[in-house]
Symmetry: C2
């Protein structure tokens, strides 16, 4: 869906990893931006970005990157957002939109919001797409195709600026929905954050168990385990920040999870087959409901997308 | 790899669900059996099997099915194996091989072994392949292609009979390995049984949480959750039996799992980013090791296979 004119004349990407890189490639595909300027923390990443032409222009600092930008995208780990916001604040163009792609929203709003000057629109967002890879070489243009991007407007967000950002995400290939920050954090704790923690844990357990070798674990994982290891390969910094900043919702879901797990564990220990059967019958019905509602495809990809 | 002559003249399939049905279709593909006779508990399943021609001949009882069979495959839930073994025992042909496809091995050996008459070979096996579907219409010929089938010979198993069964499984498309029953049960507790229990639990939690709707959970599960619901749709009887019969290994792995999960939960609660970062870095290294060892492909399929 190539736009007739670019949606933003100049876009600044702060951070040049999986998400920012994929945005740049998808923006080019859709001709959504007049010019794409990018920067990253390390000289190494900036050099790679220059070498592979990931963006139109690589600059050395975030302050420089945002000059004259109509859209500024914060694509760094959640815990790094506040410092970046503080750095760029004095250089933002009046009327510009600042957005982010962080996996947690309340914490980003609290960290970034106070730095945004009057006359600049701050509209948080979160594209629900990723892979276990990271860094400047990991992006690809189709990452967001047919995925959701949740837009999380804050108190007083300008409707025109929100509509423009949604048009951008649709141009990147995504479907968009608006959601409140706290609800976003709870939904993601259920659908992504807690499952990731569980997968990390299960991989750690397997590795600890010296009586079963890693190679056996992988070779014979007909069901269940391989995707856990894939998840557990995701970027440690990103996930550390997710759990530290979506602490309350994650702890709530974890609490419920261990409660139910203990009930099942007890049923196993006492040999209560009826309870197990009933529980599994119930969850099967949930899955049926999902399929009847047409909300799943047959592709078991653990939410991950493959380049091409 | 079509055999020159059938590996077994007559094969009896006891149970006509996903595994038996797939075996029948794959045996035909490879011309591995002279005649395939099958039976199931319910008249309904037997009728469907007749209607779709799932096997060459459908009979009404297991006792009838095994008459003159060179290979008898027990393809019923693990908890149903003992009764089936007792029923067929007097009708087994001397020199025949009895095998099973149960997901747990020690319990099957204990339940079936005592019923096997002198002169009949009992060689347990477990194909590491499945989908979340079950019943006589769920099988397909390619289910076992490039999957592992673990052969678990018991004390005194005849080597020729073992070799012949391995040739059968290779003809069905699988790679074969031999493994001791207790080790099998521990490895599977790590790679399959505990991950399945965790997935069931996570789906139950999401459904309990009234503040997040099922449709949100699915719609927005960019990572982690969809495959959990797929797993949680697996057959309740089969999984009840797995947990009841692989109790010790599952409880051991669950114990370790909750121990580690609590350590991570505590790190989240206390804001110990360093511990989280180190844990995630460690599990990432495990995944790297796996990829370097060439033991994973890029297909994130949660161990499941799709028909065609
Ligand atoms: N990966 C996913 O699955 C996914 C999905 C949706 C949303 N997100 C969110 O998207 C954001 C970026 O993730 P990503 O996957 O693109 O990560 P990534 O590939 O690791 O890239 C992160 C970028 O941020 C920079 N950075 C890291 N720490 C920084 C710091 N302290 N200060 C300034 N810059 C820093 C890095 O610079 P250097 O390269 O120079 O270190 C790199 O350019 C995160 O907030 C994450 O929560 C990720
Ligand atoms: N599904 C997997 O992912 C998978 C993978 C590897 C191994 N296995 C093992 O393979 C075996 C069969 O599983 P499946 O997936 O093929 O199951 P399935 O599709 O549900 O079929 C089970 C068959 O067993 C029969 N059966 C059920 N309860 C019985 C009982 N009490 N007495 C006699 N027959 C009974 C059923 O007959 P009716 O249709 O008449 O009820 C049906 O024909 C199980 O031991 C399982 O552990 C399964």
């Amino acid at each position: 869906m190539p736009a007739e004119a670019p949606i933003y004349d100049r876009v600044a990407l702060i951070g040049l990893g999986l998400i920012a890189g994929s945005m740049s490639l998808a923006m080019r595909r859709g001709r959504l931006a007049g010019e794409i300027v990018g920067t990253a923390r390390s000289a190494e990443t900036r050099d790679i970005a220059r070498e592979i032409g990931l963006v139109d222009r690589v600059v050395d600092t975030a302050a420089e990157a945002v000059v004259d930008a109509d859209l500024v995208v914060l694509a760094v780990p959640v815990g790094a957002m506040a410092a970046v916001a503080e750095e760029i604040a004095p250089h933002l163009k009046p009327g510009a939109t600042v957005t982010d792609v962080g996996s947690v929203k309340r914490a980003v709003i609290d960290a970034v919001g106070p730095h945004i000057p009057e006359g600049v629109h701050f509209i948080p967002a979160h594209p629900l797409a990723g892979t276990e890879h990271s860094g400047p070489r990991s992006g690809f243009a189709t990452l967001f195709d047919n995925r959701w991007c949740l837009i999380v407007p804050v108190e007083g967000s300008d409707r025109d600026a929100v509509a423009r950002l949604e048009a951008m995400w649709q141009g990147l290939g995504a479907h968009t929905d608006e959601m409140d920050a706290d609800h976003h954090d709870l939904v993601l704790a259920v659908t992504s954050h807690t499952p990731h923690l569980i997968a990390y844990t299960m991989v750690g357990v397997a590795d600890d168990l010296r009586r079963v070798t890693d190679s056996e674990v992988i070779k014979y994982s007909a069901a269940g385990f391989r995707d856990f290891t894939r998840i557990a390969a995701s970027d440690p910094t990103m996930w550390r920040d997710v759990f530290l900043t979506n602490k309350d919702a994650t702890l709530e879901i974890l609490g419920r999870f261990t409660e139910e797990l203990f009930a099942l564990q007890r049923a196993i220990r006492t040999g209560d087959g009826e309870q197990l059967f009933d529980y599994f019958t119930h969850t099967r019905a949930i899955r049926r409901g999902i399929i009847e509602a047409g909300q799943d495809t047959d592709a078991p990809d653990f939410g991950r997308v493959k380049p091409e």
